[in-house]
């Protein structure tokens, strides 16, 4: 690990100033410390965010939530308003990592964690994300985890976060502050598709600090579900995952929110499927044709072709389960 300086600001202003000239933010460290040690990332100065007053969850007047970027994953999962109003957020969190890691990992760090592509994490192999222009080892190599939607010839990596999938399904906003002030980013605009710049995961400017994630109210999210499909029962990243909230009235879909994990360089909001479902009968056949419309653009390779039927079947199963729950 290359030597770095260490700073521990206590105010947001100080933190932004320290990062503006060449600093790297440190939150829980569960991703960054590993990457510094693996040598796939270097830092001149770490700006530790753990003493900033960003670890609160507050309720907005409209029933939405403001989640500080420093809130630990375990605290977010256990928060009474999160687990009752947005149960799929809690389900996503507890499906990720381990108890120890969730006690360390923060909301901001979870959003900004880097891909788990095996080549990205191995400095001896070409990777355009780690070393722009060096090539992509995953296109021809180990491809089980590759993206099926929105990939480019330069990068086929997926975003690894569980939490981000329900956050994409909700109309979440991300509040950030940087050298040129504060701004709000719609969740769907935070993460990028790789295009010809896979080195950029997000649309954040250098030195921008995530202050909070704001989740607007969504009444029918009390009936929501996160389903993660992985290669062992616990402590593994998703092959694919599905976050859904469903509002059914008299057998008809009044409203729906659907997002997919493990399929793209960013958490994927399934807007085509949502549109195809609103006002339609809440039946497995409709669910199937809606997700098939969404997956029409899928371009899987040889090793990840299984993801297309896996996503389809998981979505049908999750939505059907939510429908049965709402019959009562």
């Amino acid at each position: 690990m290359k030597p770095f300086a260490y700073e521990r600001p206590t105010t947001v202003e100080e933190a932004v100033a320290l990062a503006a000239d060449g600093g790297t933010y440190l939150a829980g460290g569960t991703n960054l410390v590993d990457h510094l040690r693996l040598g796939i990332r270097e830092a001149d100065r770490l700006v530790d965010l753990t003493r900033l007053p960003l670890d609160e969850i507050t309720e907005r007047a409209d029933g939405g939530l403001v989640i500080g970027s420093g809130v630990r994953n375990s605290d977010l999962a256990a928060h009474p308003l999160v687990r009752t109003r947005f149960p799929f957020v809690t389900q996503a969190l507890v499906a990720g990592a381990s108890g120890q890691l969730r006690n360390m990992a923060t909301t901001g760090g979870n959003l900004l964690q880097r891909t788990r592509c095996v080549y990205f994490q191995d400095p001896t192999t070409p990777c355009n994300k780690r070393e722009p222009g060096s090539g992509c080892s995953a296109v021809e190599g180990f491809g089980r985890y590759n993206a099926i939607l929105g990939a480019s010839e330069d990068c086929v990596a997926t975003h690894p976060s569980d939490l981000c999938v329900p956050l994409a399904a909700l109309d979440t906003e991300v509040v950030v502050v940087g050298p040129s002030g504060e701004r709000r980013i719609a969740f769907g605009d935070l993460h990028r598709l790789p295009g010809d710049r896979p080195d950029l995961d997000t649309t954040l400017d250098p030195g921008e600090l995530v202050l909070a994630v704001e989740v607007p109210p969504l009444d029918f999210a009390v009936r929501s579900r996160y389903r993660k499909v992985r290669e062992r029962a616990s402590y593994a990243f998703a092959l694919v995952s599905v976050a859904a909230a469903l509002d059914v009235h008299d057998g008809t879909v009044r409203d729906v929110r659907l997002a997919l994990g493990g399929v793209s360089h960013r958490p994927h909001r399934a807007r085509i499927a949502e549109e195809a479902l609103r006002g339609r009968p809440a039946t497995p056949d409709q669910f199937r044709s809606a997700i098939e419309a969404e997956l029409g653009a899928a371009s899987p390779g040889e090793h990840n072709a299984f993801k297309v039927p896996l996503v389809r079947n998981t979505v049908v199963d999750v939505l059907t389960g939510l429908t049965e729950g709402s019959a009562a």
Binding site: R45, V94, Q100
Partner: protein
């Protein structure tokens, strides 16, 4: 400037310690290499095995991914701080009674993790196998124990007895809680 040392204060198993460290040093390496605390183990050094689990301010964390500088002022408990050979912590005693180990390398991390895990369950923390995540009372089934302990690997595969040991202690807690309520 890069390379400067930082002063770090830690309370380790009840004793206040201070040490000047390169900011790259983790809590794990600070404990073992700088402070001579060998009751914490290094397995993978990448957050994947749980051998380095310690309890910081009541919560279990992985000391291999924790930069010591960031934990300045923390109260750290390792397995040695939970109990001594003469006065074992109930969890340590249960691991011994149930033969919940073979080589013992993962055991300090397992014990720390288990002690803090029971606190989490008592506080109503949901898990991936909880039938309803909004329910704040946890029924600590074997499936719950396995899921909540999934961050602690055991290369010797002593899992069956580890679950039994933890259930022994969880059962004592339930008995105690029941007694208190009556």
């Amino acid at each position: 400037m890069a390379g400067h040392e930082v002063s770090v204060r830690l309370t380790v198993d009840g004793t206040a310690r201070q040490v000047d460290l390169d900011p790259r040093v983790t809590v794990l390496d600070a404990l073992r290499d700088e402070l001579g605390v060998m009751s914490v183990k290094k397995g993978c050094d990448h957050g994947q095995c749980g051998a380095c689990t310690v309890i910081v301010d009541g919560r279990r964390i992985l000391s291999c991914l924790a930069l010591a500088a960031s934990y300045d002022g923390a109260d750290v408990t390792t397995a040695a701080g939970l109990g001594t050979t003469d006065h074992l912590n109930p969890m340590q005693q249960a691991f011994a009674d149930r033969d919940a180990l073979q080589c013992g390398y993962c055991t300090p991390g397992q014990v720390c993790s288990a002690v803090a895990m029971l606190e989490e369950a008592r506080a109503g923390m949901p898990s991936h196998v909880s039938p309803d995540v909004s329910d704040t009372t946890v029924d600590l089934t074997d499936a719950e124990v396995r899921e909540r302990m999934s961050g602690n690997l055991c290369r010797c595969g002593a899992y069956v007895n580890i679950v039994r040991a933890i259930q022994d202690v969880a059962g004592q807690d339930v008995a105690r809680a029941g007694g208190g309520a009556a």
